[in-house]
Symmetry: C2
Subunit: 248 residues, 2 copies
């Protein structure tokens, strides 16, 4: 399976002001496409930090997806930082300029907006069907906007290029026993299904403690076999397995 | 200012299944306490990855806060991994054992639950007033639960120990002009207020594009001065500044 790192660039997330919506979206979509997200990082709008993080991530993972910092204001420094990470010039991109001229007209295309027509030299543009200013790709690094609506149309415009490997499927068995009551047996069961990742996520409700047992694999048949055994295990220990919405 | 790294440990966040709530909470609270969050990382439940991330973060930042992976199931490997990162034994902690015996009684304290009474040798416990099983501190690393309600009571039980430095205050000026129309002048203004961090966050509404201009600093007087100038700037450029809820 191909691997990916999601790099969120923006002080507003680190301050707690903004709750990021991009990483969960990308993680879910990449999983559907068969790409395994190995890491997410949120970093500051700081050139040295961005350069280090991008170079580390692109050397380690098959794909790197960044969001944020490609707008027209002084705190938007992702694009020149990516150019620096790749050791290439930060330059006006004629194709990007044309998109912005078509959108704003020459009269409204002030210097700040012209910044959004710059990319690292050699970049391939990523379409922005909402507000024209494009994202771009440099080798295995995909640079997208931070505004969730725009990030999504950018990602969807390139999503099919990542498809191919088997997608990861998942089944959740809701268990009405606390995880401490099933942990030992569940660990043994995990040992019999090394190709199915079994996670246990506790919850607390008015009727007591329980846990969601989430089975993930690229092989739906193995998930189904493991899920049957998980349900049997819950019953053997005196509980009732159900689906997450309460159905048996 | 002291700096911090937030380390979220859990495959469920990387798969997109779970939307993390802990990082935004910690970021906001740490800001109030005067601690600057420099980075957030989400990493897999994998010993080698946890060891590398913890050792890198604790060498770089004043504080490291981890969430997740300290429960009783096979996928909860944070505690032994932290022991490995510090090069100390993973061992039964008598004080933690007493908390769990008091909670569950000897009869229900099976081997899986006894795992939650283990810590790295030399750890200081962090109280869990909800479900007893404690978090712990090793030097500048604070290890907490992933369940948001439990993470919060754990953090609040130690929060006052981080207070001291001046907290970061913020003011948001809502601007009804698109950020491309104010970017150049805003950059000039930022140059006059190097002690106030000014961020611009675009939004799109039925009445057109606008942006929230967020001013952050430990000095409320400097924020107020900068905010006055930001409002003047928006007016000079033909817009109307307001607070985020629309008040002038």
């Amino acid at each position: 399976m191909k691997t990916a790192c999601i790099l969120l660039i923006g002080n507003e997330i680190l301050s707690g002001r903004t709750q990021d919506q991009n990483a969960p979206y990308l993680a879910a979509r990449l999983g559907e496409l068969g790409v395994k997200v190995m890491e997410m990082r949120v970093i500051r709008d700081d050139e040295a930090i961005i350069v280090e993080a991008v170079n580390s991530a692109r050397a380690t993972h098959d794909y790197v997806f960044t969001t944020g910092g490609i707008g027209p204001t002084h705190d938007d420094i992702t694009t020149p930082s990516i150019a620096k990470a790749f050791g290439v010039a930060y330059a006006l991109n004629p194709a990007a300029l044309k998109l912005l001229v078509d959108r704003y007209g020459e009269a409204k295309l002030n210097d700040a907006r012209r910044r959004m027509a710059h990319t690292p030299e050699g970049a391939t543009l990523i379409e922005n069907s909402i507000s024209a200013a494009p994202g771009f790709q440099m080798a295995n690094v995909y640079v997208m906007a931070g505004v969730p609506e725009i990030m999504r149309v950018m990602f969807e415009s390139i999503a099919e290029s990542f498809a191919g490997a088997a997608p990861v499927a998942s089944v959740t068995v809701r268990c009405d026993l606390p995880e401490g009551a099933i942990a030992a047996e569940l660990g043994t069961l995990q040992g019999r299904f090394l190709d199915v990742e079994i996670g246990s996520y506790p919850f607390y409700s008015e009727t007591g403690a329980g846990c969601d047992l989430v089975l993930r694999s690229t092989d739906p048949n193995r998930i189904a076999q493991a899920a049957d055994q998980v349900r049997d295990l819950v019953r053997d220990l005196g509980g009732n397995p159900s689906s997450k919405n309460g159905a048996p």
